[in-house]
């Protein structure tokens, strides 16, 4: 079924966005990206080692994936904006996964600074995908300043706690004028499927694949889950009932 993801006028064949960090080694990462079916993968921007110059992540991924740079770890508008500008120069893309961290331990977004940074970056010509709270008001503000999508958290980054507030995610999906990408907290395949069933347009996964016992298998599981969840969403779930409703015909039962 042809059902591409559309963000800022760009068509993406997969609704799963995958991270490139925390894999046991480079080969496992490459195998996982392949197994995930992802077209877009994330990267960070970091200072080079002044002692030596190793092979770049980008050389490794070649032209096979669309790279989405992030501003992970940035705690001020200034650092996030400069990181985005460096990413644009280094990767020749104006897409940025905007992260503005308000708490080092929780890696929770700093909403006030996030909206300001998003506004500035949009004005500077960036296609901004902000990692944000699962809060409909924040998501609306981010859309209002021109973000191309919103990326509400399911739960804390790397926590594997899944979607702790599914009602809020569903609400965001039902109201958002821009695509919703569930970011952070995915622990296993069912979490990704749930995100899609709640109405998310895509899911972003890193740790749940990279740190699983068998990352290649989990990458395939995430792919299947996102596809299954999306199909279920499009198909429409049946309403929940308080009592049973027999599946088998009631007529012709022996002994009646």
């Amino acid at each position: 079924m042809d059902d591409p993801l559309l963000i800022a006028g760009t068509t993406l064949s997969s609704r799963l966005i995958v991270g490139t960090a925390r894999y046991p080694n480079q080969q496992v990462m490459l195998d996982c990206l392949e197994a995930s079916g992802a077209e877009m993968v994330t990267a960070s921007i970091r200072r080079i080692s002044l002692k030596g110059y190793a092979e770049s992540l980008v050389n490794l991924l070649g032209g096979r994936y669309r790279l989405l740079p992030n501003t992970a770890g940035c705690a001020t508008v200034r650092d996030a904006v400069l990181t985005a500008e460096l990413a644009r120069e280094a990767l020749e893309t104006n897409w940025i996964k905007l992260e503005l961290i308000g708490d080092r331990e929780l890696l929770y977004p700093d909403v006030e600074q996030l909206v300001r940074a998003a506004d500035e970056l949009v004005r500077n010509g960036f296609t901004v995908l902000p990692y944000c709270n699962e809060d409909p008001v924040t998501c609306q503000k981010l859309a209002d300043v021109g973000c191309a999508a919103v990326m509400p958290l399911g739960s804390l980054i790397g926590s594997g706690m899944g979607i702790t507030n599914p009602a809020a995610i569903e609400l965001i999906c039902s109201r958002s004028p821009v695509p919703v990408v569930l970011d952070a907290g995915i622990g296993t395949a069912s979490d990704a499927a749930l995100a899609m069933e709640l109405g998310c347009d895509a899911v972003m996964v890193d740790t749940a694949i990279a740190q699983s016992h068998d990352p290649r298998r989990m990458a395939a599981a995430m792919r299947a889950a996102v596809e299954g969840g999306r199909l279920a969403r499009l198909a429409g779930r049946i309403p929940r009932r308080r009592f049973a409703e027999a599946s088998s015909p009631q007529l012709g039962l022996i002994g009646s």
Binding site: M29, R46, R88, T207
Partner: protein, 67 residues
């Protein structure tokens, strides 16, 4: 001249971004490299002409793995 390079104060004898990269053994023709001086990106085309001054704060970055 004293410069801050990726957060570290250093004494160097260079005058442009290109010279700084060369002095560091960084091939400036390699792709996916970006440089900022005092909080502003210096485009690759300006690396040869961009003069550095004492106390300049320089960031040299590239893409890494990330989530």
């Amino acid at each position: 001249m004293q410069l801050k390079i990726n957060g570290v104060d250093e004494e160097v004898g260079v005058t442009t971004v290109s010279e700084l990269l060369a002095a560091r053994g960084i091939d400036s023709t390699v792709r996916f490299l970006a440089v900022a001086v005092n909080g502003a990106v210096v485009r690759r085309s300006e690396w040869c002409s961009k003069n550095l001054g004492p106390g300049d704060d320089i960031e040299i970055v590239r893409p890494f793995s990330g989530g």
